[in-house]
C-alpha cells in the first residue's frame, strides 16, 4: 500500500534475562556493523561505544559516525520506534533490545503487522553459567522460559566460564526447552554478526496468556516429586541410575538419612551431584524435586516408584492433616 512497504526494513529483537550479555552484544553490533542500524535500548548508560564514534548525543538519541543511531526506550517505546520508522533515510536494520523480564516475541510481533517491516530474527542471549538455575527459579523461572518460546536463535554466552561438562548440561537444558532451535556458544569476544533470515508467524494462537503458556508446556513434560522423610544415600544412587533417559534434568532440595542439613540434588542427563542446600532455599517438604523431560517421559507414577525405592523406611506415622490438605491443594488449583 504505502511506498515504504516495497522496501521492508528487517527487525531483529534481542531478548534474554538480566546479565546474559544483551548489551554486550548490542555494543558489538554497533561497533562492527557495516550497515546503518537503528538500535533501541532500555538503558542508555549500558551502551558503551568509543567516544570517538559518537557524532551527536542529545539525551535520548545518540548518532554514531558510522550512521547508526542508538535510542533509549525509556517510558516511550512506541513513540521512539515511530520516530525511527519516520526517519528520512530508511535504516538498513532495526535492532530492539527487549527488557530482561520481557518477552521478546511480544515486540517481534510489531514486525509482523507493520507493513514497512519484516522480522529478521528473535535472538535470546543466555548466560551459560546461570541458565539452568534460572529456568527452575521459583520467582523468575516462568519468565525466563517464556523468553525462549518463540525465539529462533539462542546465543549461549559466557561459555568460557564453564568446563565442558557444565556447558553440555547448560546446552541440554536449553535444548530441552526448544529441541528445534539453533544454539551458538559464545563469549564476549566471539559474538556473531546478525543472522540474515526471515521469521514468519506460523502458529495461530489465542490472545490470552493462559493459552499461550499451555502450548508452551506441551513442548516438554514436567514431573514433581514431593515427600516428607529422607533418602538412603546408597539406594538413591541406584534409583537415580534407574531413571529413564527421557528425563533431561532433575533438581531440588532433599534430605539424606543421618545427614543433619538439607542437600540440593542436581541431575542433568546421567550426571548428578549432591551439595549442601543454600541457606535461603526454603521447601515445604523434606524432598521436593522438579524434573523436566521430553514429551515421551513416562508417567509420574512410574517415576515416583523408582525414587520411593530409595526412601528410608519410617516408623509408620500417618500423614498429618496439614500434609493431606497441602497435597490436595496442589492438585485442586
Amino acid at each position: 500500500m504505502t511506498a515504504a512497504s516495497s522496501v521492508k526494513i528487517p527487525v531483529t529483537v534481542i531478548g534474554g534475562f538480566l546479565g546474559a550479555g544483551k548489551t554486550t552484544y548490542l555494543n558489538h553490533l554497533l561497533r562492527t556493523g557495516s550497515a546503518r542500524y537503528a538500535v533501541l535500548v532500555n538503558d542508555f548508560g549500558a551502551v558503551n561505544v568509543d567516544v570517538g564514534l559518537i557524532a551527536q548525543h542529545d539525551g535520548t538519541t545518540m548518532t554514531l559516525t558510522n550512521g547508526c543511531v542508538c535510542c533509549s526506550i525509556g517510558g516511550g517505546f512506541l513513540d521512539t520506534l515511530g520516530r525511527v520508522l519516520d526517519d528520512n533515510i530508511p535504516f538498513d536494520h532495526i535492532i530492539i533490545e527487549a527488557s530482561g523480564v520481557g518477552d521478546p516475541w511480544r515486540i517481534a510481533e510489531i514486525a509482523l503487522v507493520e507493513p514497512s517491516l519484516r522480522l529478521n530474527a528473535v535472538i535470546v542471549v543466555a548466560d551459560a553459567s546461570r541458565i539452568a538455575d534460572l529456568l527452575v527459579d521459583a520467582r523468575v523461572g516462568d519468565t525466563v522460559r517464556d523468553q525462549f518460546d518463540r525465539c529462533n536463535l539462542v546465543l549461549l554466552n559466557k561459555v568460557d566460564l564453564l568446563n565442558r561438562t557444565a556447558l553440555d548440561a547448560a546446552r541440554t537444558t536449553v535444548a530441552a526447552l526448544r529441541p528445534d532451535i539453533q544454539i551458538i556458544e559464545t563469549t564476549e569476544h566471539t559474538l556473531p554478526t546478525l543472522p540474515d533470515g526471515e521469521v514468519k508467524a506460523t502458529l495461530r494462537f489465542a490472545a490470552t496468556a493462559v493459552d499461550n503458556r499451555a502450548d508452551h508446556e506441551s513442548a516438554f513434560r514436567r514431573w514433581s516429586y514431593q515427600r516428607s522423610g529422607t533418602f538412603d544415600g546408597a539406594r538413591l544412587a541406584a534409583a537415580l541410575a534407574a531413571l529413564p533417559p527421557q528425563l533431561l534434568r532433575l533438581k531440588g532440595p532433599c534430605r539424606i538419612a543421618d545427614d543433619a542439613s538439607p542437600a540440593l540434588l542436581q541431575m542433568v542427563g546421567q550426571d548428578w551431584a549432591l551439595t549442601p542446600a543454600p541457606a535461603d532455599m526454603t521447601a515445604q517438604d523434606d524432598i521436593m524435586l522438579v524434573g523436566v523431560g521430553t514429551d515421551a517421559l513416562p508417567d509420574a507414577g512410574a517415576l515416583d516408584a523408582i525414587l520411593d525405592g530409595a526412601l528410608t523406611p519410617v516408623s509408620q506415622t500417618p500423614p498429618t492433616t496439614t500434609d493431606l490438605n497441602r497435597r490436595q491443594a496442589t492438585f485442586i488449583l
Binding site: G45, L81, V101, R106, I107, E109, V113, A209
Partner: protein, 548 residues
C-alpha cells in the same frame, strides 16, 4: 489578630487533629491557618472579620488523594462509556451505560458533534465485566461510523476496540497472526486489539495516541476541577516520566493563584537510570513551590490482579491461571531501591500480588541494613494481597502502605470467584490488619482506573461491599468512619511526607478545607459516599465546585 486575618465559621469543623478534634471557627492569614477553636477562642472581643458563608457547612481537612494519575484529567477530553456513573470535571453526572446499545448511542452523539470528518473518535472506560461480559464488536462500532476511525479504550486501559475502517487501514485481517488481534466467529478480526504490536500499528494509522500525547494546561485544569468537585486539595500524579514539557506545564499551572490543588508528581523510575533519577529529583525539588511538590519516585514491580499479571505467592491464582509478570526483575529491584534510598529519596512501590510485595520488602530490608535511613516512609502502593506476616515486616521496617480500597467494590466479586478465592478475597486491601499491626496507611482510587472520590474510597473501606452486594471481610478488615477519614486526610499526607503542612486543620498548616453539606461522622456509614461536596478552600482561596 492582624487586619488581613479572615475567620471562617462553620456548623462544625472536623479537624483530624486528635488534640483538638472539633471546632467551629478557623482563622486564616496568608494562606495558612492561624488558629482553630470556638467563637470565644478565635473571635472574642478582637473585632476580627468573620466570614460566615460556611455557617451551615461542615469543614474537613482537604482530602489527600495519595494515588491517582494525571490521565484522569486527560481522559475527560473524550466521551466516557463505562458501566458506573462518574462526575465530569464540569461537575456533570455522567451516567454509566449498561448495554451495547447505550454505548453506541453515546458514541453516535459524540460523533455527530465532531466537525472534522477525518478526525478519529476516541472513547474510554468500556467495562465489559460489569455489563454482563458482553463484547463490543467492530460491527457495533460500525453503527457509529463506517468512515471515521473509532477506538474505545477499556476501563483496564490495556484492551481497545476499533471499528472496521481502522482494521482496514491497519491492514489487520483474517491472515493477521499475532496474539493481540482477536478473531471473531467469522474468522475476521473482531475489533478487539491489545498488546504492544497491535497498539503500535493502530496508533500509527490513527496518527495519534490519546494516552501518550503531550500534556496540556487544559488537562491539568480538568484534574484540578475534578479535585475541587471531590473535596481534594492535595493530589498525586503517581507515575510520570516528567519530560521537560510536562515539567513546564506543571510549573506554569501551579504558579497561578487560582490553581486549586497541590500537585505531588512521582517520577517513574523506568524513565531514568537510578543515577540520572537521583540527580533529576534533586534538581526538581529545588523548583518546588507551595502547590507543586516533587521528591518521590515510583517503581512498578508487577501487573494487576484482575488482569492476571500480578505476581502471587503459592498457591497462586484461585482459578489456576499461570503466575503474572514482573515489570522489574526481582534481582534488579534491590539495586534500584538502594540507589534512591541511599540518596534519601522516598519510594512509592507498586506491588499488587503478594510475591511482588515480598520482593519489595526484601529490597527495602536490604537497603535499610546497608544504610539505615530514619523515617524513610517508603510506601507500598496497592499491596492488595499482603497477609499479616507481611504487614508485620512493614511495621518493623518503617514502611507505609496505600491500600486500594475501591477494589473491594469494583473487583471484589472477581477476586472472590476467580483470582484469590474466598479466604484471600476477604482480606483484600487489609485495612484492619494495617490498623492492628500499626502500619501507617492511606487508601486510594488510582483514578482514572476507578473514580476519583475520597469519600467513596472511605465508604468502600468502611462498608467493604462489592458491586454485586457481597460483603468481604467486614468484621475483620473494615474501618470506622473516623479511621477512614484519617486515611484520606492526615494519614495519606503522612505517606507523602506532607503531614507537617496538610492533612489536618491546625495552626501553622495550609488553609486547605473540604466543604461538605453534612457531617460524615453523623450520617449512617452507608451514606458516606452520598454526602454532597460544596467545594474546597485551598490556601485560603474559596472555590465552589462547578455544577452542570
Amino acid at each position: 489578630m492582624s487586619q488581613d486575618t479572615i475567620v471562617f465559621s462553620a456548623r462544625k469543623i472536623v479537624t483530624m487533629n486528635p488534640s483538638r478534634p472539633s471546632a467551629t471557627h478557623v482563622a486564616v492569614r496568608e494562606g495558612r491557618i492561624v488558629a482553630v477553636g470556638s467563637f470565644d477562642e478565635i473571635v472574642g472581643a478582637s473585632g476580627v472579620r468573620v466570614d460566615d458563608r460556611f455557617k451551615d457547612k461542615v469543614l474537613l481537612p482537604g482530602f489527600v488523594e495519595g494515588h491517582s494519575h494525571i490521565m484522569e484529567g486527560m481522559m475527560w477530553s473524550l466521551p466516557y462509556v463505562g458501566a458506573f456513573d462518574r462526575r465530569s470535571p464540569e461537575g456533570k453526572l455522567v451516567k454509566g451505560l449498561s448495554d451495547i446499545d447505550a454505548i453506541v448511542a453515546r458514541l453516535q452523539e459524540a460523533e455527530a458533534a465532531m466537525t472534522d470528518p477525518e478526525a478519529p473518535l476516541f472513547a474510554w472506560g468500556f467495562d465489559p465485566l460489569h455489563i454482563g461480559s458482553v463484547s463490543l464488536t467492530r460491527q457495533d462500532l460500525d453503527r457509529v461510523s463506517t468512515t471515521r476511525p473509532i477506538m474505545v479504550v477499556h476501563a483496564s486501559f490495556h484492551i481497545s476496540n476499533v471499528n472496521t475502517i481502522v482494521l482496514q487501514r491497519a491492514e489487520l485481517d483474517r491472515t493477521t497472526n499475532i496474539s493481540g488481534v482477536v478473531m471473531g466467529k467469522d474468522g475476521e478480526p473482531s475489533g478487539e486489539v491489545q498488546g504492544i504490536a497491535a497498539r503500535f500499528r493502530v496508533f500509527r494509522v490513527l496518527g495519534t495516541n490519546p494516552l501518550s500525547g503531550n500534556l496540556t494546561a487544559d488537562d491539568v485544569n480538568r484534574y484540578a476541577a475534578s479535585s475541587c468537585i471531590q473535596g481534594v486539595t492535595t493530589i498525586t500524579d503517581l507515575h510520570n516520566d516528567l519530560a521537560d514539557l510536562t515539567i513546564e506545564v506543571y510549573r506554569a499551572a501551579s504558579r497561578r493563584d487560582d490553581f486549586s490543588v497541590r500537585l505531588v508528581p512521582a517520577m517513574a523510575s523506568v524513565s531514568h537510570s537510578p543515577e540520572q533519577g537521583v540527580e533529576k529529583i534533586k534538581a526538581l525539588k529545588a523548583s518546588n513551590n507551595d502547590k507543586l511538590h516533587y521528591g518521590i519516585v515510583k517503581l512498578v514491580v508487577d501487573g494487576s490482579i484482575q488482569g492476571f499479571t500480578a505476581r502471587l505467592r503459592w498457591p497462586g491464582y484461585h482459578n489456576g491461571a499461570p503466575n503474572g509478570l514482573w515489570y522489574i526483575a526481582p534481582e534488579e529491584l534491590p539495586s534500584i531501591v538502594a540507589a534512591y534510598h541511599n540518596a534519601g529519596i522516598q519510594l512509592h512501590i507498586h506491588t499488587n500480588g503478594d510475591e511482588a510485595t515480598e520482593v519489595a520488602l526484601d529490597a527495602i530490608e536490604a537497603a535499610q541494613i546497608a544504610k539505615p535511613l530514619p523515617d524513610h516512609r517508603h510506601t507500598l502502593q496497592h499491596c492488595q494481597m499482603a497477609d499479616a506476616a507481611q504487614f508485620k515486616r512493614m511495621k518493623s521496617l518503617g514502611i507505609c502502605v496505600n491500600l486500594f480500597s475501591n477494589h473491594v467494590y469494583y473487583w471484589g466479586d472477581s477476586h472472590y470467584d476467580l483470582t484469590m478465592g474466598p479466604e484471600r478475597a476477604n482480606r483484600l486491601d487489609a485495612t484492619g490488619t494495617a490498623l492492628r499491626t500499626g502500619v501507617p496507611f492511606a487508601i486510594h482510587s488510582d483514578a482514572p482506573v476507578t473514580p476519583l472520590s475520597p469519600l467513596f474510597t472511605a465508604w468502600c473501606a468502611v462498608n467493604r461491599i462489592s458491586s454485586s452486594g457481597r460483603v468481604l471481610g467486614k468484621e475483620t478488615e473494615a474501618l470506622t468512619v473516623e479511621q477512614a477519614l484519617a486515611a484520606i486526610t492526615i494519614n495519606a499526607a503522612y505517606t507523602l511526607k506532607l503531614d507537617h503542612i496538610v492533612g489536618s486543620i491546625e495552626a501553622g498548616k495550609y488553609a486547605d478545607f473540604a466543604v461538605l453539606d453534612e457531617d460524615p461522622l453523623e450520617v449512617t456509614p452507608e451514606k458516606l459516599k452520598d454526602i454532597a461536596i460544596w467545594g474546597t478552600v485551598v490556601g485560603g482561596h474559596v472555590r465552589e465546585a462547578p455544577r452542570a
